[in-house]
Symmetry: D2
Subunit: 191 residues, 4 copies
């Protein structure tokens, strides 16, 4: 059974993107895959610095997160848009887990051969779609197959019901389509 | 058997990227797939203009090329870099074949669900890699799964032997790896 | 007095982006600059091909357009979005005029030191903003200072009145702000 | 006299990009401007989190850095490339100082109307140029005029002499040209 991670580029308590990642993970389980929501809050790590890495190796949070990525077949990222790009929090986590822990390790073992799906939600009218451009660009450059479909949810404060579900039927359907493409691509490419 | 197209973003007689597409097609055949080099020279079309399309529909060259794309499972593009982006020739062909010919046709039928691999060769030191950034960006936006690996061949005038083969062993190997990833991804995703 | 060109990436008769470029040129004149709308329709050129260039040099349309660019201090481009990128028509024109006509010419004389402003209008909800990403990227790479402000007009079929003016006051103001920044930047940087 | 900041996207002790920012600041002073090297190490800040901001406002490091940006006319960034993009350290600092501290403040006061120049140095053959693509994209989106010229220094471990100067004459000249364009653009656009 393929293993999929669902994470958000924000640790804010009421983060809209966290909500999106959580509901996506739930819906993915309904599709019969092993889907796990990963809250970056539980994987704290300092801002990446090469000297720090030389002295101490990967911080515990990065080691744990990297292990999840290495074992997963794909990951879904709900990414907030800060200044038209993705968050430092997300970049920092992605950078730390890109590092090898010993000489014999394959480079980019957290990423190579993996599949990713991207989504965003924002309070504004564009749904955070601008931030997905550099995220897609980066992931493609480090060996991840990013599926072409993606989802940007505008007017995010009105998008979710009390139980965290998407209110609009159209968006529910869009998410389902995205997840189906994500799951089928991951199944097809998993070795 | 999966069907793969190999094309170059140039119609120049001695085009380095044409050479790269030709040798890639040959090597792909050795991997046991249906690989076809497509010379854009044989698919002439005027520069896209909506009025022209309204009056005459797709030009013959575009119809023929689109048919090949619709029937193919994947395409390999060797793209020259003009002003840090890909050629107008390539953009024009890709735009024309993105158009639907009748109301019942699925939009983007030439692209949706297809797999692409990108490569470039240039006389300079960067091998045309800058032009692949916007090309990857565009294809991802229209439903194409672009595989993460790509290849940029620098010093292109010295890259090929008389028979059109890549001279450097490292580049031969890189092309082979790229093609293997391209073929396996296309096989996996072909429906 | 600074000289500014206003062009659209479409030659379609009823092109929304042509309308936007025309009204922008008119408003720029009101700001006391030499503003000229340039219809690419009057500068026909074949799709760029290196062999063609070797045999015949720049086609007449490209020579004329290049001359306008060389003499101008800045250019405003209203760019339609085709498949999330700008048009082949525009890329082709920009590529042809990037070419030198003789050995002593400075490379990229049409672009180096020039200022550009970007805008887009589309029938859809995003106003063609996605196509401006690769256009901005390319121009920055060839020596053009692209001003940070830009304008994307959604619901383009309802955006203009019978005389070609923008209907919404907010958009009129946005265009005016964009032009003021464009004019002041060009004046400041013109040598 | 225009005020220019010079910073690096790394706090590593022996950072090549820090070296590049330091030598650039020194050379800029020779051009008669107020040039200041800013070590991000002295502006520590936690990873951006909206809840944290709601509770405590900007951290001290961010306030101090923002003040420098607000007072400056331009900034030069030497950016290391991590996973084909810029560092989380840099993104984090740029995001924090993008935030307003009170309701009456103009949005993006650290950025609007400012000029930026980008550079990179890396141990590899491309000089970190890939990471400048998303950095340029982001800065352009938040109101910064990024000058078209940029500089990527390959083989970075062999690029500097004992005193921190660039060894190769060609690179010294390239840096000088970049700084001259940076200074003249900033002077022209400073209000």
């Amino acid at each position: 059974m393929v293993k999929l991670l669902f994470l958000a580029g924000s640790t804010r308590e009421a983060s809209l993107n966290k909500k999106l990642a959580v509901v996506a993970a739930k819906k993915a389980k309904d599709l019969g895959v092993d889907a796990m929501f990963v809250d970056l809050k539980e994987f704290e790590m300092p801002i990446y610095n090469g000297d720090l890495e030389d002295r101490q190796g990967l911080p515990e949070g990065a080691k744990k997160l990297k292990k999840l990525f290495v074992e997963a077949d794909g990951f879904f990222i709900a990414s907030p848009e800060y200044n038209s790009s993705f968050s430092a929090l997300l970049k920092n986590a992605l950078d730390w887990i890109s590092r090898s822990e010993d000489k014999d390790e394959q480079p980019l073992s957290a990423y190579k051969g993996k599949v990713a799906a991207l989504a965003a939600v924002s309070p504004g009218g564009y749904g955070g779609m601008r931030g997905l451009v550099p995220l897609r660009m980066m992931l493609g450059n480090i060996g991840v197959t990013v599926i072409p479909s993606q989802m940007a949810v505008p007017s995010g404060f009105d998008a979710f019901d009390d139980k965290g579900g998407l209110i609009k039927e159209g968006q529910q359907k869009m998410l389902l389509n995205l997840l189906q493409e994500f799951v089928s691509t991951t199944k097809a490419l998993a070795r």
